[in-house]
């Protein structure tokens, strides 16, 4: 009963349409996993008539709702049953015997050996049959197209679930000379429900960040030299770049595409107090265009607005002397502004400011996941199934002796029959030559 329900054509099409709707909803409504709270709240305030439904049905996190899980579970079950049924059908079709009905037939006068040779020469292979009727099939793997397609879908969806549930992924911004020790807080981290805590079993030291640019100022490559240090002090030096990853102790290490300069600034209050802070700025888009960032240092009553050019000359993307401009804001009121290069001092409101160091920084991503090979294997099986199904529809010829030296050839094609009818005519012509 359940099996019949899950294999029903109406159930299958309804489940596919529902999955399509979920994807559509995730596109229309900002999702919590890839949007900030600010973006979600803004969207909700712009669509007040939809917000009750969004909140009640969890449409801002559709992929973690019970509705989606239920539909996906039903879809997976349906896929498993369907794959099983299709494998059974493919086996039956591949090795079936007897003559299919409702097909084209033709009588030939020839001997068995010649018939075999002409059919094999036309791309047909002898497969099974029975004592009196011989069966020839062109592209017998075509029977397996649907089965493989559904099997591949099952494998990829299952493997994707394993990845989503167990993957651990962390991103860290590291300044040249800075070390990231096991247990230290990640700048961005995401772990699957069954993934557990993401903790590196080694220390990562950022030795050097080397960006390269095209003459158009577009990014050519970012390479970082890192040192991976184990518990016993033994270390491995490595170099990673975008699209040039490395594997280390079960982790895959990626070069992130975000990088820039870190400005080390000392704030000295007129009254005597002060503090040092690091301002992490992303690389500007062009040599003559700055990048901007706002900072609110801890226990500091003002906002610091920063602007930086890659070089004070504004003539190169990769200059030795980056220029930093700071503005001190109290609400909307500007209390001061100063422009500095490394080693210089200035005044910002009631503060003496000193830029005492500038270093490069870059982001590095650490990923530990299981099931990825299953996802890709599933994809390949889907494609193989699709190719078998649409590119190689199987054609069958049954050879049945009716009298001595007279045989009836019966031709059958279950998919795209009209496109291949002429093939049987050509075979008939070969017998008449």
């Amino acid at each position: 009963m359940i099996k019949r329900f899950l294999l029903s054509r109406k159930t299958v099409i309804t489940l596919i349409v529902l999955l399509l709707l979920f994807v559509l909803i995730s596109y229309i409504i900002p999702q919590r996993f890839n949007s900030s709270n600010l973006e979600i709240n803004r969207w909700l305030s712009e669509h007040p008539y939809l917000s009750p439904a969004v909140e009640r049905l969890g449409l801002d996190h559709v992929y973690t709702t019970p509705w989606f899980a239920g539909v996906l579970a039903l879809f997976l079950l349906s896929l498993f049953f369907s794959s099983y049924e299709q494998v059974r059908m493919a086996l039956k079709k591949t090795f079936q015997t007897g003559v299919a009905s409702g097909v084209l037939s033709h009588e030939v006068r020839n001997n068995e050996k010649n018939i075999n040779s002409i059919l094999v020469g036309s791309g047909y292979r002898r497969i099974r049959g029975n004592r009196s009727i011989k069966r020839f099939v062109k592209h017998p793997w075509g029977y397996w197209g649907g089965a493989l397609f559904h099997l591949g879908l099952s494998i990829s969806i299952l493997a994707s679930l394993v990845v989503v549930l167990t993957e651990k992924r962390g991103l860290v911004y590291l300044v040249e000379g800075e070390a990231f020790q096991p247990g230290k807080r990640w700048d961005l981290v995401s772990t699957g429900l069954l993934g557990g805590e993401l903790k590196l079993p080694f220390t990562v030291l950022m030795k050097r960040v080397k960006p390269e640019f095209w003459d158009t100022d577009d990014l050519k490559q970012v390479t970082t030299e890192i040192r991976l240090i184990g518990d016993n002090g033994a270390f491995t030096d490595a170099s990673i770049a975008i699209n040039n990853t490395m594997n280390y102790k079960g982790f895959k290490i990626y070069q992130g595409k975000v990088f820039g300069h870190a400005f080390f600034v000392e704030f000295q209050e007129e009254g005597g107090g002060g503090f040092k802070t690091m301002l992490l700025m992303k690389i500007p888009p062009k040599r003559n265009m700055p990048s901007y960032e706002d900072f609110s240092p801890p226990d500091f009553p003002y906002v610091v607005q920063a602007k930086y050019f890659t070089d004070v000359s504004r003539a190169v993307m990769d200059g030795p002397n980056p220029e930093l401009t700071l503005r001190l804001l109290k609400g909307r009121e500007i209390l001061g502004k100063t422009t500095l290069t490394v080693g210089q001092e200035g005044t910002l409101g009631n503060y003496r400011i000193r830029l005492f160091d500038v270093r490069r920084w870059a982001s590095i991503i650490f990923v530990k996941s299981n099931g990825m090979s299953g996802v890709f294997l599933g994809f390949f099986v889907i494609i193989l199934g699709g190719i078998f199904y649409y590119f190689t529809p199987p054609r069958e010829i049954y050879v049945k002796p009716v009298e001595d030296g007279i045989f009836v050839l019966t031709w059958r094609c279950s998919r795209f029959r009209d496109e291949y009818v002429e093939e049987f005519d050509m075979i008939k012509e070969r017998f008449e030559i």
């Binding site: 099409i13 990845v163 992924r169 095209w214 770049a241 494609i383 699709g386 795209f416 009209d418 496109e419």
Partner: protein, 275 residues
């Protein structure tokens, strides 16, 4: 005229003119049953494709990357792949030759549209330097080519069914149009899947994730699932004829939006493409 971009644009205009000529010959040949014109259209087309192929390679060498960055080169390469695929498919399925009345003008329109976009050469970012990217892009172009052929047959079906104009007699029988629309959608569905697979391997190689719900990825998945529904309805619900043709047309529009419009309306990791 030493500037490579100027040379590229000038040769592309020559290509447009050749393709327009081929389209005119072809339309006259098909509609008025003038075989000589039809034959000439293919000779003209191949000459155009040769020049077109040379200018694509020239730009590839000059820019240092394949045609997958700016609109000008993307549209041009889509047109070339469409024509190349069409010629290959006519070898195996000679009856699809009639779809040339849609394929030829589609190609010249794509090249011509590309001429009105900024042809400046853009340098390739490091994340786009991967063999998987080349496969990803190539298979989308191949998928689009097969979908244009399927669209041609869906259109023929609707025109023949709806119009009593005499020239529609030249169009294939309704059953033939229907089966070719179905078959080529199947091809497109598979090529689209290969393109998504190559893209996910590339994403995994570059960013450590195979799927990120990026707007372009999401639209691509939506399109693929839509074509999956179309094929399912045809296979298991015996959908065919006019309603299948209309449903396919919606899918085809969705495919065009996915490939050519989503990179423009959304900020995404694909934003280096088609800008």
């Amino acid at each position: 005229m030493k500037d490579p971009v100027t040379i590229d644009v000038a040769i592309h205009w020559v290509v447009v003119l050749i393709y327009i000529t081929a389209t005119l010959f072809n339309t006259i040949g098909v509609i008025f049953k003038r075989e000589v014109f039809e034959k000439r259209s293919y000779v003209t087309l191949m000459a155009g494709m040769f020049v077109h192929g040379v200018v694509i390679i020239y730009r590839w060498v000059v820019s240092g990357h394949g045609p997958y960055m700016v609109k000008h080169e993307v549209l041009s390469s889509y047109a070339w792949v469409l024509l190349f695929l069409f010629l290959i498919f006519t070898k195996y399925f000679p009856r699809i030759k009639i779809s040339s009345v849609v394929v030829f003008p589609s190609a010249f329109l794509m090249v011509a549209l590309g001429q009105f976009t900024n042809p400046a050469i853009k340098k390739i970012p490091p994340s786009l330097r991967s063999i998987w990217l080349v496969l990803h892009v190539l298979f989308y172009k191949i998928a689009m080519g097969t979908l244009v052929i399927a669209f041609a047959f869906s259109l023929f079906y609707i025109l023949k069914k709806r119009s009593s104009a005499r020239w529609t007699e030249r169009l294939p029988e309704l059953g033939v149009s229907d089966v070719y629309a179905y078959r080529f959608t199947g091809f497109g569905f598979i090529f689209w899947a290969i393109a998504m697979l190559a893209g996910s391997i590339w994403a995994y190689q570059s960013w450590g994730r195979f799927w990120g719900w990026d707007p372009v990825e999401t639209w691509s998945l939506l399109t693929w699932v839509f074509f999956g529904i179309y094929l399912h309805l045809r296979r298991f619900f015996a959908w065919k004829g006019e309603r299948a043709a209309y449903l396919y047309t919606i899918g085809f529009i969705l495919a065009i939006v996915s490939i050519f419009f989503t990179p423009l309306i959304e900020a995404s990791i694909h934003s280096a493409y088609f800008r």
